[in-house]
Symmetry: C2
Subunit: 137 residues, 2 copies
DNA sequence: TTAATTCCTACAATTTTGGTAGGAGTTGCA
DNA sequence: TGCAACTCCTACCAAAATTGTAGGAATTAA
């Protein structure tokens, strides 16, 4: 399951993609519309800003805005930043590889192939969908 | 990511599928072979027994054994018991459905379709693979 | 100057995870 | 009958992750 952090972040990005035509979108607007705690949402938006999905403008009439066209933002990249690995076990993660504590030998690990197959099938969906697709733009 | 509980359980089942020809397999054997804590493993095997993946025999020369042919045990069913939902959000889970706290309206949830697509793609892999496939029997 | 906003640091409650401890009950065999 | 090797059961627990909250500082538009 996704953490709420990741889920809220995804929804926030989609909201901004849909409503960002007329200038920056305020965190409070998003929190209202999606039913989220504003303080928690702020910390998520900060993460997205630091990873250059979002820009921000301070002060009155400030808010958050996309730095790239929605059609060039892949869902997989967002999830990797908000949630971490796509893979179900660390030792088959492409972006967050880590040896499993218990695995004596990765090459002979009994569940390795299955884990790779699941990972690739998930990746396919998440790479083929952009923010524009999900926001139906 | 899978919990260690689920990962250990999967490995244990594969081990039993591979080594269960000559009678029950002891928890201590599995723990040794896979590098797991025996007490923790015991509690996982209990779960698998209660869900009728495994049978057990007490006393000397006792241990655990599969109740069905490996080729008729789907990976998806094991993971559902050990880990819970396959879906990334509760509101698209087929077996563990739960309304999302924040979702006002599921039908208009912006990420619903993506979540369904990911779920189905994962399910396809996990339904097509049985214990026999994974254990290479 | 004021209101509205982001930005920053610190803390904290709750839940989940990943176990451990200690022994009771069962069985096969000498 | 007694011992060794197992499963089975209950209870507990520490660490980590998650999901926030609190309180304000800094910035900006009008």
């Amino acid at each position: 399951m996704l953490t709420k952090r990741a889920k809220y972040g995804l929804k926030a990005l989609v909201y901004i993609a849909k409503n960002g035509e007329e200038g920056p979108v305020q965190a409070s607007k998003i929190a209202d519309a999606e039913g989220l705690s504003i303080k928690f949402l702020e910390s998520i938006l900060t993460t997205l800003r630091k990873h250059e999905f979002l820009g921000s403008k301070k002060g009155k009439y400030g808010g958050y805005f996309l730095l790239q066209a929605p059609s060039s933002v892949r869902m997989v990249d967002i999830i990797r930043v908000l949630e971490g690995p796509i893979a179900l076990v660390p030792c088959v993660s492409l972006n967050y590889y880590k040896k499993c504590d218990d695995c004596k030998d990765e090459a002979t690990c009994s569940i390795n192939k299955l884990m790779v197959d699941v990972r690739d099938s998930t990746l396919k969906v998440l790479k083929n969908n952009t923010l524009a697709d999900v926001a139906q733009l």
